[in-house]
Protein backbone atom coordinates (compact mmCIF):
# COMPACT_ATOMS: atom_id res chain seq x y z
CA UNK A 1 0.00 0.00 0.00
CA UNK A 2 2.65 2.49 1.01
CA UNK A 3 4.97 1.29 -1.74
CA UNK A 4 2.31 1.70 -4.40
CA UNK A 5 1.50 5.16 -3.15
CA UNK A 6 5.12 6.21 -3.28
CA UNK A 7 5.50 4.74 -6.70
CA UNK A 8 2.39 6.47 -8.02
CA UNK A 9 3.50 9.74 -6.54
CA UNK A 10 6.82 9.37 -8.31
CA UNK A 11 5.00 8.68 -11.55
CA UNK A 12 2.84 11.71 -10.97
CA UNK A 13 5.87 13.92 -10.59
CA UNK A 14 7.39 12.35 -13.67
CA UNK A 15 4.25 13.10 -15.66
CA UNK A 16 4.24 16.70 -14.52
CA UNK A 17 7.87 17.07 -15.43
CA UNK A 18 7.61 15.48 -18.88
CA UNK A 19 4.30 16.86 -19.93
CA UNK A 20 5.61 18.06 -23.26
CA UNK A 21 7.69 14.99 -24.05
CA UNK A 22 4.80 12.91 -25.40
CA UNK A 23 2.10 15.22 -26.75
CA UNK A 24 -0.14 12.28 -27.62
CA UNK A 25 -0.64 11.31 -24.00
CA UNK A 26 -2.17 13.36 -21.24
CA UNK A 27 -2.23 11.64 -17.89
CA UNK A 28 -4.30 13.18 -15.13
CA UNK A 29 -4.55 11.97 -11.59
CA UNK A 30 -7.79 12.13 -9.71
CA UNK A 31 -7.81 15.07 -7.32
CA UNK A 32 -8.69 13.05 -4.26
CA UNK A 33 -7.53 9.54 -5.07
CA UNK A 34 -4.10 8.71 -6.38
CA UNK A 35 -5.32 5.25 -7.36
CA UNK A 36 -7.69 6.71 -9.96
CA UNK A 37 -6.20 8.16 -13.08
CA UNK A 38 -7.58 9.38 -16.36
CA UNK A 39 -5.69 9.55 -19.62
CA UNK A 40 -6.44 11.27 -22.89
CA UNK A 41 -4.70 9.76 -25.87
CA UNK A 42 -4.72 10.87 -29.47
CA UNK A 43 -5.58 8.35 -32.13
CA UNK A 44 -2.43 7.42 -34.07
CA UNK A 45 -2.04 8.91 -37.52
CA UNK A 46 -2.76 6.85 -40.64
CA UNK A 47 -5.30 4.80 -38.75
CA UNK A 48 -9.10 5.12 -38.65
CA UNK A 49 -8.65 6.63 -35.20
CA UNK A 50 -6.66 9.61 -36.45
CA UNK A 51 -8.02 12.90 -35.23
CA UNK A 52 -9.87 11.37 -32.32
CA UNK A 53 -9.15 11.85 -28.65
CA UNK A 54 -9.88 8.82 -26.51
CA UNK A 55 -10.35 8.80 -22.79
CA UNK A 56 -8.96 6.00 -20.68
CA UNK A 57 -9.77 5.21 -17.07
CA UNK A 58 -7.11 3.72 -14.83
CA UNK A 59 -7.99 1.85 -11.68
CA UNK A 60 -4.81 0.99 -9.85
CA UNK A 61 -4.70 -1.87 -7.37
CA UNK A 62 -3.02 -1.45 -4.03
CA UNK A 63 -0.46 -4.07 -4.96
CA UNK A 64 0.68 -1.92 -7.85
CA UNK A 65 3.22 -2.21 -9.40
CA UNK A 66 3.25 -5.91 -8.69
CA UNK A 67 -0.20 -6.08 -10.25
CA UNK A 68 -1.10 -4.24 -13.46
CA UNK A 69 -3.51 -1.30 -13.48
CA UNK A 70 -7.00 -1.93 -14.80
CA UNK A 71 -7.51 0.18 -17.87
CA UNK A 72 -10.58 0.66 -19.99
CA UNK A 73 -11.78 2.99 -22.70
CA UNK A 74 -14.34 5.53 -21.58
CA UNK A 75 -14.67 6.73 -25.14
CA UNK A 76 -16.50 4.37 -27.45
CA UNK A 77 -14.13 2.80 -29.96
CA UNK A 78 -14.52 0.23 -32.72
CA UNK A 79 -11.46 -1.97 -32.28
CA UNK A 80 -11.13 -5.76 -32.30
CA UNK A 81 -9.34 -5.82 -28.95
CA UNK A 82 -11.57 -3.39 -27.09
CA UNK A 83 -14.95 -4.38 -25.74
CA UNK A 84 -17.49 -2.22 -27.49
CA UNK A 85 -19.75 -1.78 -24.48
CA UNK A 86 -17.46 -1.88 -21.44
CA UNK A 87 -14.30 -0.49 -23.01
CA UNK A 88 -12.27 -3.37 -21.62
CA UNK A 89 -8.92 -3.80 -23.34
CA UNK A 90 -7.38 -7.12 -24.29
CA UNK A 91 -3.71 -6.47 -24.03
CA UNK A 92 -1.13 -8.91 -22.78
CA UNK A 93 0.84 -6.40 -20.75
CA UNK A 94 -2.32 -5.62 -18.81
CA UNK A 95 -2.76 -9.30 -18.02
CA UNK A 96 -0.08 -11.95 -17.88
CA UNK A 97 2.77 -10.04 -19.49
CA UNK A 98 2.70 -7.25 -16.95
CA UNK A 99 6.00 -6.19 -15.48
CA UNK A 100 6.50 -3.88 -12.53
CA UNK A 101 8.91 -1.95 -14.68
CA UNK A 102 5.99 -0.63 -16.72
CA UNK A 103 4.49 2.70 -15.82
CA UNK A 104 1.13 4.30 -16.52
CA UNK A 105 2.80 6.32 -19.21
CA UNK A 106 4.22 3.28 -20.89
CA UNK A 107 0.84 1.55 -20.67
CA UNK A 108 -0.65 4.47 -22.57
CA UNK A 109 1.99 4.09 -25.23
CA UNK A 110 1.24 0.41 -25.50
CA UNK A 111 -2.45 1.14 -25.96
CA UNK A 112 -1.68 3.62 -28.74
CA UNK A 113 0.44 0.93 -30.38
CA UNK A 114 -2.44 -1.50 -30.04
CA UNK A 115 -4.77 0.95 -31.77
CA UNK A 116 -2.39 1.13 -34.72
CA UNK A 117 -1.90 -2.64 -34.84
CA UNK A 118 -5.12 -4.48 -34.00
CA UNK A 119 -4.89 -8.17 -33.21
CA UNK A 120 -8.03 -9.78 -34.71
CA UNK A 121 -7.19 -13.27 -33.48
CA UNK A 122 -8.12 -12.54 -29.88
CA UNK A 123 -11.08 -10.25 -30.32
CA UNK A 124 -13.19 -8.66 -27.64
CA UNK A 125 -15.18 -6.93 -30.37
CA UNK A 126 -16.19 -9.84 -32.58
CA UNK A 127 -17.73 -7.69 -35.31
CA UNK A 128 -14.53 -5.77 -35.75
CA UNK A 129 -12.40 -8.89 -35.52
CA UNK A 130 -14.46 -10.71 -38.08
CA UNK A 131 -14.19 -7.88 -40.54
CA UNK A 132 -10.42 -7.94 -40.29
CA UNK A 133 -10.17 -11.71 -40.32
CA UNK A 134 -12.30 -11.92 -43.45
CA UNK A 135 -9.97 -9.44 -45.09
CA UNK A 136 -12.47 -6.62 -45.24
CA UNK A 137 -9.99 -3.97 -44.32
CA UNK A 138 -12.05 -1.28 -45.93
CA UNK A 139 -15.13 -2.28 -43.97
CA UNK A 140 -13.23 -2.26 -40.69
CA UNK A 141 -11.65 1.08 -41.42
CA UNK A 142 -14.90 2.79 -42.36
CA UNK A 143 -16.66 1.47 -39.26
CA UNK A 144 -13.77 2.51 -37.01
CA UNK A 145 -13.58 5.93 -38.65
CA UNK A 146 -17.29 6.44 -38.23
CA UNK A 147 -17.17 5.66 -34.51
CA UNK A 148 -14.15 7.85 -34.12
CA UNK A 149 -16.07 10.74 -35.66
CA UNK A 150 -19.12 10.00 -33.61
CA UNK A 151 -17.50 9.48 -30.22
CA UNK A 152 -13.90 10.76 -30.21
CA UNK A 153 -14.15 14.04 -32.07
CA UNK A 154 -15.63 17.30 -30.90
CA UNK A 155 -19.16 17.84 -32.16
CA UNK A 156 -19.37 20.18 -35.08
CA UNK A 157 -21.23 23.42 -34.64
Amino acid sequence: MQASRARLFKEYKEVQREKSVDPDIQLVCDDSNIFKWTALIKGPSETPYEGGVFQLAFAIPEQYPLLPPQVRFLTKIFHPNVHFKTGEICLDILKNAWSPAWTLQSVCRAIIALMAHPEPDSPLNCDSGNLLRSGDIRGYQSMARMYTRLAAMPKKG
Binding site: A6, R7, L66, A97, S99, P100, A101
Partner: protein, 341 residues
Amino acid sequence: MGYDAMANEASVPAAISRDFGKKKKVNRSAKLKQCKLDARREQWLSQVKNKGCMDGSTGTMTTSPSHPKMSLPSPGQGVLGSRPRKMLPRVEMEPEGLGLQDSGLDSPVQSPTPSGNMQRKDCSSTSGSSGSSVGSCSRSVSDAEEDRQEEEKGEDKGGLDDWEAVADALSAVGNHTRTNSDSLKTVVDSRMYRIHHSDTRLVVGATRPDANRTIPRAWKPDDAARPQCLPNLSKQLSFPVNIERHFATSGWHRQAIISAPSSCPICVEDFDLTDSSFLPCSCGFRICLFCHKKILEEGDGRCPGCRKKYDRVACMENSVTGTGLSLPRRITRSCSMNSRS
Protein backbone atom coordinates in the same frame (compact mmCIF):
# COMPACT_ATOMS: atom_id res chain seq x y z
CA MET B 1 76.17 30.79 -28.31
CA GLY B 2 79.53 30.40 -26.72
CA TYR B 3 80.26 28.71 -23.48
CA ASP B 4 81.28 31.95 -21.88
CA ALA B 5 78.03 33.58 -22.73
CA MET B 6 76.24 30.59 -21.47
CA ALA B 7 78.08 30.67 -18.22
CA ASN B 8 77.32 34.31 -17.71
CA GLU B 9 73.74 33.81 -18.49
CA ALA B 10 73.50 30.91 -16.14
CA SER B 11 75.32 32.54 -13.32
CA VAL B 12 72.61 35.01 -12.47
CA PRO B 13 69.85 32.49 -11.86
CA ALA B 14 72.34 30.33 -10.11
CA ALA B 15 72.83 32.99 -7.52
CA ILE B 16 69.14 33.58 -7.30
CA SER B 17 68.45 29.94 -6.89
CA ARG B 18 70.96 29.74 -4.17
CA ASP B 19 69.23 32.53 -2.36
CA PHE B 20 65.94 30.86 -2.81
CA GLY B 21 67.39 27.59 -1.76
CA LYS B 22 67.63 28.80 1.79
CA LYS B 23 64.05 29.90 1.95
CA LYS B 24 62.52 27.03 0.16
CA LYS B 25 62.83 24.64 3.03
CA VAL B 26 60.68 27.00 4.93
CA ASN B 27 58.37 28.22 2.31
CA ARG B 28 56.44 26.24 -0.21
CA SER B 29 55.93 29.05 -2.66
CA ALA B 30 59.62 29.56 -2.69
CA LYS B 31 59.89 25.98 -3.79
CA LEU B 32 57.69 26.68 -6.72
CA LYS B 33 59.77 29.63 -7.72
CA GLN B 34 62.76 27.41 -7.48
CA CYS B 35 61.11 25.00 -9.83
CA LYS B 36 60.50 27.79 -12.26
CA LEU B 37 64.09 28.86 -12.16
CA ASP B 38 65.20 25.31 -12.57
CA ALA B 39 63.06 24.88 -15.63
CA ARG B 40 64.46 27.97 -17.24
CA ARG B 41 67.97 26.89 -16.54
CA GLU B 42 67.21 23.52 -17.96
CA GLN B 43 66.13 25.21 -21.14
CA TRP B 44 69.37 27.05 -21.44
CA LEU B 45 71.26 23.96 -20.67
CA SER B 46 69.57 22.06 -23.41
CA GLN B 47 70.79 24.61 -25.87
CA VAL B 48 74.31 24.13 -24.75
CA LYS B 49 73.80 20.42 -24.80
CA ASN B 50 72.90 20.54 -28.41
CA LYS B 51 76.01 22.47 -29.08
CA GLY B 52 77.92 19.89 -27.20
CA CYS B 53 76.39 17.23 -29.40
CA MET B 54 77.54 19.06 -32.43
CA ASP B 55 80.99 19.14 -31.00
CA GLY B 56 80.63 15.46 -30.45
CA SER B 57 83.58 15.27 -28.15
CA THR B 58 83.51 14.12 -24.61
CA GLY B 59 86.72 15.86 -23.97
CA THR B 60 85.14 19.27 -24.09
CA MET B 61 82.78 18.25 -21.45
CA THR B 62 85.39 17.40 -18.97
CA THR B 63 87.57 20.30 -19.77
CA SER B 64 84.94 22.92 -19.44
CA PRO B 65 83.49 22.77 -15.98
CA SER B 66 80.44 24.71 -16.95
CA HIS B 67 79.31 22.22 -19.50
CA PRO B 68 75.83 21.26 -18.62
CA LYS B 69 75.82 17.99 -20.43
CA MET B 70 77.11 16.43 -17.30
CA SER B 71 73.82 16.87 -15.67
CA LEU B 72 72.44 14.07 -17.74
CA PRO B 73 71.87 10.91 -15.81
CA SER B 74 72.78 7.60 -17.26
CA PRO B 75 69.29 6.13 -17.63
CA GLY B 76 68.21 9.18 -19.53
CA GLN B 77 70.79 8.46 -22.09
CA GLY B 78 68.78 5.93 -23.94
CA VAL B 79 66.05 8.40 -24.50
CA LEU B 80 68.21 11.35 -25.01
CA GLY B 81 70.20 9.70 -27.70
CA SER B 82 73.80 8.81 -28.04
CA ARG B 83 75.03 11.75 -26.12
CA PRO B 84 78.27 10.83 -24.46
CA ARG B 85 78.47 10.89 -20.73
CA LYS B 86 81.59 11.33 -18.83
CA MET B 87 82.32 10.49 -15.27
CA LEU B 88 83.84 13.37 -13.48
CA PRO B 89 86.61 12.95 -10.98
CA ARG B 90 84.72 14.86 -8.30
CA VAL B 91 83.12 11.76 -6.94
CA GLU B 92 84.19 12.35 -3.43
CA MET B 93 82.30 15.57 -3.23
CA GLU B 94 79.00 13.80 -3.50
CA PRO B 95 77.81 13.11 0.03
CA GLU B 96 75.70 10.15 -0.98
CA GLY B 97 77.89 8.95 -3.74
CA LEU B 98 74.95 8.58 -6.06
CA GLY B 99 74.95 11.43 -8.48
CA LEU B 100 78.67 11.51 -8.72
CA GLN B 101 79.32 13.07 -12.00
CA ASP B 102 77.55 16.32 -11.46
CA SER B 103 77.80 17.35 -7.91
CA GLY B 104 81.15 18.92 -8.17
CA LEU B 105 79.97 21.35 -10.72
CA ASP B 106 77.51 22.88 -8.45
CA SER B 107 79.55 23.37 -5.43
CA PRO B 108 79.74 26.97 -4.35
CA VAL B 109 83.34 27.10 -5.26
CA GLN B 110 82.58 27.06 -8.93
CA SER B 111 80.01 29.70 -8.61
CA PRO B 112 79.36 30.60 -12.26
CA THR B 113 78.39 27.09 -13.13
CA PRO B 114 74.73 26.17 -13.14
CA SER B 115 73.44 25.31 -9.75
CA GLY B 116 72.60 21.73 -9.11
CA ASN B 117 69.07 22.62 -8.32
CA MET B 118 68.22 22.63 -11.92
CA GLN B 119 69.52 19.16 -12.43
CA ARG B 120 66.74 17.54 -10.59
CA LYS B 121 64.62 19.23 -13.17
CA ASP B 122 62.67 17.07 -15.50
CA CYS B 123 64.58 15.51 -18.23
CA SER B 124 61.55 16.19 -20.30
CA SER B 125 62.35 19.77 -20.94
CA THR B 126 65.89 18.88 -21.68
CA SER B 127 65.23 16.02 -23.98
CA GLY B 128 62.23 17.55 -25.59
CA SER B 129 63.85 20.74 -26.62
CA SER B 130 67.21 19.31 -27.40
CA GLY B 131 65.64 16.55 -29.42
CA SER B 132 63.78 18.96 -31.64
CA SER B 133 66.06 21.84 -32.33
CA VAL B 134 68.18 24.45 -30.75
CA GLY B 135 65.92 27.19 -31.95
CA SER B 136 63.00 25.84 -30.04
CA CYS B 137 64.53 26.94 -26.81
CA SER B 138 63.27 30.45 -27.06
CA ARG B 139 62.25 32.25 -23.94
CA SER B 140 58.54 32.24 -24.61
CA VAL B 141 58.43 28.56 -25.20
CA SER B 142 60.41 27.77 -22.15
CA ASP B 143 58.22 30.03 -20.06
CA ALA B 144 55.09 28.26 -21.08
CA GLU B 145 56.66 24.93 -20.52
CA GLU B 146 57.96 25.72 -17.14
CA ASP B 147 54.63 27.08 -16.08
CA ARG B 148 53.10 23.79 -16.94
CA GLN B 149 55.79 21.97 -15.12
CA GLU B 150 55.37 24.19 -12.17
CA GLU B 151 51.73 23.26 -11.97
CA GLU B 152 52.64 19.65 -12.12
CA LYS B 153 55.09 20.08 -9.39
CA GLY B 154 52.48 21.70 -7.28
CA GLU B 155 50.19 18.76 -7.79
CA ASP B 156 52.87 16.30 -7.08
CA LYS B 157 53.76 18.02 -3.92
CA GLY B 158 50.27 17.95 -2.67
CA GLY B 159 50.02 15.02 -0.35
CA LEU B 160 52.75 12.90 -1.77
CA ASP B 161 55.26 13.66 0.89
CA ASP B 162 54.26 10.63 2.83
CA TRP B 163 54.54 8.27 -0.08
CA GLU B 164 57.94 9.60 -0.81
CA ALA B 165 59.03 9.17 2.72
CA VAL B 166 57.72 5.65 2.94
CA ALA B 167 59.28 4.68 -0.32
CA ASP B 168 62.55 6.21 0.61
CA ALA B 169 62.59 4.16 3.73
CA LEU B 170 61.61 0.96 1.99
CA SER B 171 63.62 0.94 -1.16
CA ALA B 172 67.20 1.26 -0.13
CA VAL B 173 68.23 0.87 -3.69
CA GLY B 174 66.88 4.25 -4.31
CA ASN B 175 66.56 3.62 -7.98
CA HIS B 176 63.14 5.12 -8.32
CA THR B 177 62.36 5.84 -11.86
CA ARG B 178 59.45 7.78 -12.96
CA THR B 179 58.04 8.44 -16.34
CA ASN B 180 57.67 12.11 -16.70
CA SER B 181 54.13 13.22 -16.72
CA ASP B 182 54.93 15.68 -19.41
CA SER B 183 54.24 12.76 -21.73
CA LEU B 184 57.63 13.14 -23.24
CA LYS B 185 58.38 9.58 -22.22
CA THR B 186 61.60 10.47 -20.59
CA VAL B 187 62.70 8.22 -17.85
CA VAL B 188 64.12 10.21 -15.01
CA ASP B 189 66.53 8.49 -12.82
CA SER B 190 66.33 9.00 -9.16
CA ARG B 191 69.95 9.76 -9.16
CA MET B 192 68.96 13.02 -10.66
CA TYR B 193 67.05 13.82 -7.58
CA ARG B 194 69.81 12.67 -5.39
CA ILE B 195 72.13 14.94 -7.21
CA HIS B 196 69.82 17.74 -6.63
CA HIS B 197 69.34 17.03 -2.99
CA SER B 198 72.95 16.79 -2.28
CA ASP B 199 73.64 19.87 -4.31
CA THR B 200 71.03 21.73 -2.47
CA ARG B 201 72.79 20.83 0.67
CA LEU B 202 76.03 22.04 -0.72
CA VAL B 203 74.63 25.25 -1.98
CA VAL B 204 72.67 26.08 1.07
CA GLY B 205 75.37 24.87 3.28
CA ALA B 206 72.85 23.23 5.53
CA THR B 207 73.00 19.68 6.79
CA ARG B 208 69.32 19.16 7.11
CA PRO B 209 68.60 15.46 7.04
CA ASP B 210 65.25 15.91 5.34
CA ALA B 211 66.74 17.51 2.29
CA ASN B 212 65.81 14.39 0.39
CA ARG B 213 62.20 15.13 0.87
CA THR B 214 62.13 18.55 -0.63
CA ILE B 215 61.01 17.29 -3.98
CA PRO B 216 58.36 14.67 -3.62
CA ARG B 217 57.78 12.54 -6.63
CA ALA B 218 55.06 10.15 -7.55
CA TRP B 219 55.70 6.86 -9.19
CA LYS B 220 54.05 5.87 -12.36
CA PRO B 221 52.26 2.54 -12.26
CA ASP B 222 54.61 1.11 -14.85
CA ASP B 223 57.76 2.07 -13.07
CA ALA B 224 59.99 -0.90 -12.64
CA ALA B 225 61.36 0.19 -9.32
CA ARG B 226 58.01 1.22 -7.97
CA PRO B 227 57.62 -0.15 -4.45
CA GLN B 228 55.14 -2.96 -4.15
CA CYS B 229 53.49 -1.35 -1.21
CA LEU B 230 52.09 1.50 -3.27
CA PRO B 231 48.48 1.15 -4.34
CA ASN B 232 48.00 -0.30 -7.75
CA LEU B 233 46.75 2.65 -9.72
CA SER B 234 46.17 0.69 -12.87
CA LYS B 235 43.56 -1.40 -11.15
CA GLN B 236 41.82 1.62 -9.82
CA LEU B 237 41.89 3.25 -13.17
CA SER B 238 40.45 0.21 -14.84
CA PHE B 239 37.50 0.17 -12.50
CA PRO B 240 35.07 2.00 -14.78
CA VAL B 241 36.20 -0.13 -17.66
CA ASN B 242 35.22 -3.16 -15.67
CA ILE B 243 31.79 -1.76 -15.13
CA GLU B 244 31.41 -1.18 -18.81
CA ARG B 245 32.41 -4.71 -19.57
CA HIS B 246 30.19 -6.12 -16.93
CA PHE B 247 27.07 -4.46 -18.21
CA ALA B 248 27.93 -4.71 -21.84
CA THR B 249 25.34 -7.40 -22.31
CA SER B 250 22.53 -5.71 -20.53
CA GLY B 251 21.35 -3.74 -23.53
CA TRP B 252 19.20 -0.71 -22.93
CA HIS B 253 19.26 -1.16 -19.19
CA ARG B 254 22.90 -0.32 -19.11
CA GLN B 255 22.34 3.36 -19.56
CA ALA B 256 19.89 3.51 -16.74
CA ILE B 257 22.10 1.48 -14.47
CA ILE B 258 25.17 3.54 -15.06
CA SER B 259 23.48 6.88 -14.97
CA ALA B 260 20.78 6.44 -12.32
CA PRO B 261 21.44 3.50 -10.07
CA SER B 262 20.36 5.40 -7.02
CA SER B 263 16.81 4.18 -6.56
CA CYS B 264 14.75 1.07 -7.14
CA PRO B 265 12.63 1.42 -10.28
CA ILE B 266 9.82 -0.56 -8.69
CA CYS B 267 9.29 1.08 -5.34
CA VAL B 268 11.37 4.21 -6.10
CA GLU B 269 13.08 3.88 -2.75
CA ASP B 270 16.75 4.82 -2.71
CA PHE B 271 19.19 1.96 -2.91
CA ASP B 272 21.11 1.33 0.24
CA LEU B 273 24.57 -0.19 0.29
CA THR B 274 23.33 -3.76 0.10
CA ASP B 275 20.90 -2.99 -2.68
CA SER B 276 23.46 -1.30 -4.83
CA SER B 277 25.63 -4.39 -4.80
CA PHE B 278 22.65 -6.68 -5.37
CA LEU B 279 22.35 -7.98 -8.91
CA PRO B 280 19.27 -10.17 -9.06
CA CYS B 281 19.23 -10.90 -12.77
CA SER B 282 21.83 -11.46 -15.44
CA CYS B 283 20.09 -8.91 -17.64
CA GLY B 284 21.38 -6.21 -15.34
CA PHE B 285 18.00 -4.92 -14.24
CA ARG B 286 18.43 -4.01 -10.62
CA ILE B 287 15.80 -3.73 -7.95
CA CYS B 288 16.01 -3.49 -4.23
CA LEU B 289 16.06 -6.55 -2.02
CA PHE B 290 12.65 -5.72 -0.67
CA CYS B 291 10.99 -5.63 -4.09
CA HIS B 292 12.89 -8.71 -5.15
CA LYS B 293 11.52 -10.61 -2.20
CA LYS B 294 8.05 -9.33 -2.90
CA ILE B 295 8.20 -10.35 -6.54
CA LEU B 296 9.36 -13.80 -5.53
CA GLU B 297 6.67 -14.25 -2.89
CA GLU B 298 3.68 -12.25 -4.04
CA GLY B 299 4.46 -11.57 -7.67
CA ASP B 300 5.20 -13.86 -10.55
CA GLY B 301 8.87 -14.31 -9.66
CA ARG B 302 10.09 -12.87 -12.93
CA CYS B 303 12.59 -10.11 -13.58
CA PRO B 304 10.75 -6.87 -14.38
CA GLY B 305 13.39 -6.02 -16.93
CA CYS B 306 13.56 -9.14 -19.07
CA ARG B 307 10.58 -11.16 -17.73
CA LYS B 308 12.78 -14.18 -17.19
CA LYS B 309 12.17 -16.25 -14.11
CA TYR B 310 14.41 -15.28 -11.26
CA ASP B 311 16.83 -18.02 -10.40
CA ARG B 312 16.37 -18.15 -6.66
CA VAL B 313 19.62 -19.93 -5.90
CA ALA B 314 21.67 -17.67 -8.11
CA CYS B 315 20.01 -14.67 -6.59
CA MET B 316 20.94 -15.77 -3.13
CA GLU B 317 24.51 -16.35 -4.23
CA ASN B 318 24.62 -12.97 -5.85
CA SER B 319 23.41 -11.27 -2.78
CA VAL B 320 25.87 -13.10 -0.58
CA THR B 321 29.05 -12.91 -2.60
CA GLY B 322 28.19 -9.69 -4.27
CA THR B 323 29.33 -10.65 -7.75
CA GLY B 324 29.69 -8.21 -10.54
CA LEU B 325 29.86 -4.65 -9.51
CA SER B 326 31.07 -5.16 -6.02
CA LEU B 327 34.02 -7.28 -7.05
CA PRO B 328 36.28 -4.61 -8.49
CA ARG B 329 35.35 -2.42 -5.61
CA ARG B 330 36.66 -4.96 -3.21
CA ILE B 331 39.87 -5.26 -5.14
CA THR B 332 40.54 -1.60 -4.91
CA ARG B 333 39.71 -1.57 -1.27
CA SER B 334 42.17 -4.33 -0.52
CA CYS B 335 44.78 -2.51 -2.53
CA SER B 336 44.42 0.61 -0.54
CA MET B 337 44.64 -1.39 2.63
CA ASN B 338 47.83 -3.01 1.45
CA SER B 339 49.32 0.28 0.62
CA ARG B 340 48.78 1.50 4.10
CA SER B 341 50.58 -1.41 5.64
